[in-house]
């Protein structure tokens, strides 16, 4: 038995990419679309998008046989290979997200820089890029914030290339599906938003006795269950369609429906990781005071489910075309250790980011409307 050609590192690339773009969409719901419900999440959402964005290249490099030749990816862009789109999309995404954060956190970082000492002060100075203003903070231009935010959101939409990477492969009946980009985009948004909600509750909730109206609105938001509903509907449509396709395609679908991967894809990925949390979130939203514990449990299930869906889909697509004895659908010990090491790095980066950034300061953020302005309007 051999390992899957595309195993855990490829799944990790999809998972971390999804978490990053999902977190950015959560941030952009406030910063770009002005949805006040997501205001309390905005800073943590941006931090999550940046941290997960920074680790996306790691599983990519670990997967490549000749990682040292990565510049070839930048030099050989062509339309016929969705994988060659990755380099420009990821570069534009990461650069615009990081620059966007510079504009978004500017005032907070300036204030933090003034009071910081030692290494933190140096780090904050570097993050500011330009010389920090002295005295009263000047009126900020929102041009940079809007441009970089819009560019990052646009590149998020192009993240559908990950689904297309698999979707154009006619050699794998399970993958050869034009709806893949939409499925990947939606599941990415769901997982990223769930992570941000979980992080926010983990950091903020122990400090509070009662949830504010703003926080209750987050827990009662219909966006997450709505997107899960759309995702499940697309899954149902795709698999029902494929179940009546050619025999080879039916065999491929059977791998996920009843085969060795049905536990991880169908039961953990779709039922436990999507249908159950959707019901939990809908039920929670109907309570007078939504429970943080229910939302937290739902977010954990969504994250587990998102990983399981991606692993099941990537592995299932490959073993469906091979004889069962040829390849194991499960990751090797080395791959698992590598994945855990990346998770440890993610944890470390979050610690650094939370230590550096003034994310707890709820100073007016770009996009905030002061109470006075609302009254006069």
């Amino acid at each position: 038995m051999t390992e899957l050609e595309w195993g855990l590192p490829v799944v990790a690339k999809y998972v971390f990419g999804g978490l990053s773009m999902g977190a950015f969409v959560t941030y952009y719901l406030w910063q770009g679309f002005g949805l006040k419900t997501f205001r309390p999440l905005a800073k943590l959402a941006w931090i999550s998008a940046a941290v997960f964005g920074l680790v996306i290249p790691i599983p990519i490099f670990s997967h490549l046989g000749q990682a040292g030749r990565w510049p070839e990816l930048l030099l050989n862009f062509h339309w016929t290979s969705p994988m060659s789109w990755a380099a420009p999309i990821l570069v534009v995404y990461l650069v615009s997200v990081l620059l966007n954060g510079r504009f978004f956190f500017h005032d907070d970082v300036v204030l933090a820089h003034r009071s910081a000492k030692g290494v933190r002060r140096i780090a904050l100075r570097i993050l500011l890029l330009t010389r920090p203003p002295e005295g009263q903070l000047p009126e900020r231009s929102r041009f940079g914030l809007r441009i970089t935010g819009g560019l990052a959101f646009l590149s998020v939409l192009f993240f559908g290339y990950t689904g297309l990477e698999l979707g154009i492969l006619g050699s794998h009946p399970l993958w050869a599906n034009p709806i893949n980009p939409a499925m990947f985009l939606i599941t990415n948004v769901i997982s990223g938003a769930a992570f941000v909600v979980l992080l926010w509750m983990g950091l903020e909730w122990p400090r509070r006795r009662a949830a504010s109206a703003e926080e209750k609105a987050v827990l009662a938001s219909p966006i997450l269950p709505l997107l899960i509903g759309v995702f499940l509907g697309l899954n149902l449509f795709v698999y029902l369609t494929l179940s009546y396709a050619a025999p080879a395609v039916q065999d491929a679908v059977a791998v996920l429906e009843t085969g060795e991967l049905s536990l991880i894809f169908l039961w953990v990925g779709l039922v436990l990781g999507a249908a159950v949390p959707a019901m939990m979130l809908v039920g929670n939203a109907r309570l007078t005071v939504p429970r943080a514990s229910v939302a937290g449990a739902a977010a954990v299930l969504i994250l587990i489910g998102s990983f399981a869906q991606k692993y099941g889909f990537v592995a299932g697509g490959q073993i469906a075309t091979l004889a069962p004895a040829e390849v194991s659908p499960w990751p090797s010990t080395g791959q698992v250790v590598e994945f855990l090491a990346i998770l440890a790095l993610v944890y470390f980066l979050f610690q650094v980011a939370l230590w550096l950034s003034p994310w707890r300061q709820m100073s007016p953020m770009p996009g905030d409307v002061s109470p006075a302005a609302e009254v006069t309007a």
């Binding site: 679309f33 070839e72 154009i168 492969l169 939409a182 091979l322």
Partner: protein
């Protein structure tokens, strides 16, 4: 101006919370669905897309050579000498193969008989492995051979996934994609590929389709042949004699 929704909640962008919620969701789901719809023709009309991709390649008549192989399954005895010769000639590492022979038993006991299917890279006319290579390391030569630039390949495995015949593998020694080259070094020296030279049953015949007097051209003119997985639209340059429907479905 700041608007209010039914519950009196306002939004800084002048839209009610409900409107913004709806627009945001529509933006995400709509963009995702639109991108799928826009991209779906690429998948459905893959043959057409690839044909356009190869428009720049010289037409058959303009090429000096057009290498092809005929595999006569009636003559294959399953000795696997081709596999061994290929390994030896090309220094193929342990655990992977450029050429291999699939063994099957057909019929119902006690009336069974063995059947052998030698498998190679099919050097397709419309190779799905070439356009997906993100660094353009795999390419199709004017003489029809699909080759890999081992100095450029990053070992991402995309071509391995794209090949419907399972003909490619990741070479564990050089950490790049690898596959049958039809012993291009021997062909260019005027010799037959190692597998062809060693085949004890004479089941393998390689030759130039542009030469009407070549053995391959004469065999193709005289005997009905089939290719593997014709529904994939890859137009293989390896032709099998004696394939039946069941083998047509065989995967790599």
């Amino acid at each position: 101006m700041v608007q209010e929704d039914r519950k009196g909640r306002t939004s800084s962008s002048g839209l009610s919370r409900r409107e913004l919620l709806t627009r945001g969701t529509i933006a995400i789901v709509g963009a995702a669905a639109t991108s799928s719809l826009l991209l779906s023709p690429t998948v459905q009309a893959q043959g057409e897309t690839h044909a356009k991709y190869y428009d720049n390649f010289p037409r058959r008549s303009e090429m000096e050579h057009r290498w092809a192989m005929v595999i006569d399954l009636r003559r294959c005895v399953g000795c696997r000498a081709c596999t061994v010769a290929c390994k030896s000639e090309n220094g193929v590492p342990e655990g992977v193969f450029r050429t291999w022979v699939r063994y099957e038993e057909i019929g119902a006991y006690p009336d069974t008989r063995p059947r052998y299917l030698p498998l190679f890279c099919n050097h397709c006319d419309n190779p799905p492995c070439v356009p997906v290579c993100p660094v353009l390391a795999t390419y199709k030569r004017d003489d029809g051979l699909v080759l890999i630039d081992y100095e450029k390949c990053i070992g991402c495995g995309y071509c391995i996934q794209a090949c419907p015949y399972g003909a490619r593998h990741l070479n564990p020694a050089q950490k790049t994609a690898d596959k049958c080259t039809l012993c291009v070094h021997r062909l260019e020296a005027g010799e037959k590929p190692a597998c062809v030279a060693t085949c004890i049953g004479g089941a393998l015949t390689v030759g130039d389709l542009n030469d009407p007097s070549s053995e391959v051209s004469r065999l193709l003119a005289a005997i009905p042949v089939q290719t593997l997985k014709p529904e994939q639209g890859t137009d293989p340059m390896f032709f099998y004699v004696g394939l039946d429907g069941r083998i047509l479905e065989v995967s790599g």
